[in-house]
Point group: none
Chain length 186, copies 4
DNA sequence: TATGAATGAGCCTTCATTCAT
DNA sequence: CATGAATGAAGGCTCATTCAT
């Protein structure tokens, strides 16, 4: 009465699966948002659900793995000597235009790991802010929290905007924030 | 085929139930967002699921009933002769601090009824914008779409911010938008 | 806090409601079959659901009231001196082409009242059969049960055939049964 | 968000469940017709509803699995060199006496998969008809559509006949159709 | 007596999570 | 260590039936 199994390729492709899961999750999160069914991730990665759970015991673990790259990209940006806050806005907007789920998570999850990503992002913002203020591009009264809030608002908005309208909204929002942050009297 | 019953207190409280449903929905939406389970609304209203569906055949019908009040409050605000865009921001922030779901719906639903609420809100924004620009309080370059975008960002952000931090975020955001919209050279 | 009611026209239109319910049920059964929601009947009759239940405590009671007319039409047919079994087939087919639910009920319900209608229908069949056999139009070996079975099959089939194809199926089926019942060697 | 669990005996009986579901569905369809609640199938198979949906994503998928055997049996019958239309009627009757739902589905579903079964059944009928006509057992005027109609009527009727009376009805119906299809003058 | 709101059982469907192989 | 089937808890929705007014 029992069964028939497929094949068990053994532990050969151990971390290959992990990578496949991350890639699949990136796509799935981008298409269907942070709350997309995890089974869809496993399916797209051609991996058993069990393996998904072994590598990433919960949704956040998976999301953190996915979004670490995004944050790293921002950090890299901050290290360029000529990057500005405007670049940061643009980068974030770019990321969110492509995938909505990072901000979904950063804003809504109280989980340690999500907050860690948020912290790294804040550091990026603070670094760029200081540099811009030094060079008189941004008003001295602006605080890092303002920048993070602006980023949060930008991203949160874009994350709920239909894909087709995201670009336009991003442009308009960027103009608003630039106006808000530019120094007053020349 | 028949069904067993427990008690049936009858339709004595006909529209009282309707009111209870709206009140419950306001709370549930505030706590859990626009996608909160409707069964939770029925439960909190102490009402059968069937009654909920009789009164409000779908989620949007319920939401519209809940949020009509909010929009009406904004319209009333716009009619006061001395109200300003800042007042509008504050009102929206106030509302969103209390309940998150109105903007959830306005941003994400393409439904006629949701768009009707959005339209009314836009009208309020446009009226106040015109008045503020006449009196030199807001730069002439600002367009209604900018105002709506700002409101959307504000609300979208607050809607994902944990309740405890909403007030602070709202204050900071208001300052940002004021800075962005104020006229430049005096 | 309580209520507002509509109007209560009193017991003025007592049996008018009953008639409206029967008419509405005839339409609803025709459109949606024997298992159509009773609430749809009440709605179409512009009558409260309670009234429906007062007049017809269950689905069968309502159906019997509706279909009594159909059976009566068949009985009237049988009383015409020149009517034949073929006429009966045609009449049943006609009725079923229009509304499917009578046979649904006769075949599937074991309820007394449904069987009463079946009995009357059988009497009609027997009368016509006897007459046809007297005149040599139908083989002497055919029994009333054969006729009822043929009617049942015809009707049961039509009741499940998409409306557009019913006419064609009815014609073909009639030919089959005629071939089956005609006397053999002339 | 998580879920509580009782026991999980694992997927040891993987395809055993599938078989149990088919068996259960055969019984449930036989007892309650094609529209019987799928939850009843899961319950009778002692299987979670989720498993039912995994194996058979919709009602038709389940029905096709159940009825494929039936059609296969008919096809096998047609391949026997000495089988006749009468055998086909008897086989169909036999099957329908046991389970009602096959014809329910073939008649009422416009779904691809249901029509595929219908097509196979028609092929069987046409093959047997040709052979019977060759050997003079069936009138040359009879067309495959007549046979299918007869089968449809037979099955449709039986499908609505209480189990106890099915055998008798089947016998009588077979006699009728034989009479209808036999060649006329010897 | 008529009304129509309220009830709640039950069906369908989706998913997170577990676990035998 | 990977697999993928099994589980069952929700949630959405529909309807038959009751009952205060």
């Amino acid at each position: 009465m029992p069964t028939k199994r497929k094949v068990n390729l053994g532990p050969s492709a151990g971390p290959a699966n992990r990578a496949a899961l991350i890639a699949a999750a990136r796509e799935v999160f981008a298409e269907s948002g942070f709350m997309a069914p995890l089974s869809a991730v496993a399916r797209r990665a051609q991996v058993g659900q069990g393996s998904l759970y072994r590598h990433f015991p919960d949704r956040i673990a998976l999301a953190v793995a996915v979004f670490d790259d995004n944050i790293t990209a921002l950090e890299t940006l901050a290290e360029l000597s000529d990057s500005t806050l405007v670049d940061l806005f643009d980068s974030v907007a770019q990321q969110v235009i492509a995938s909505t789920a990072l901000i979904d998570m950063i804003i809504s999850e109280r989980d340690q790991r999500a907050e860690h990503l948020a912290t790294r992002m804040t550091a990026v913002a603070a670094a760029l802010l200081a540099r811009d203020q030094d060079q008189g591009r941004i008003a001295a009264t602006v605080e890092p929290a303002d920048v993070m809030l602006a980023i949060g608002m930008l991203a949160s908005l874009l994350s709920r905007t239909p894909v087709a309208e995201r670009m336009e909204s991003a442009t308009r929002a960027r103009a608003i924030f630039r106006a808000a942050f530019v120094p007053r009297a020349p």
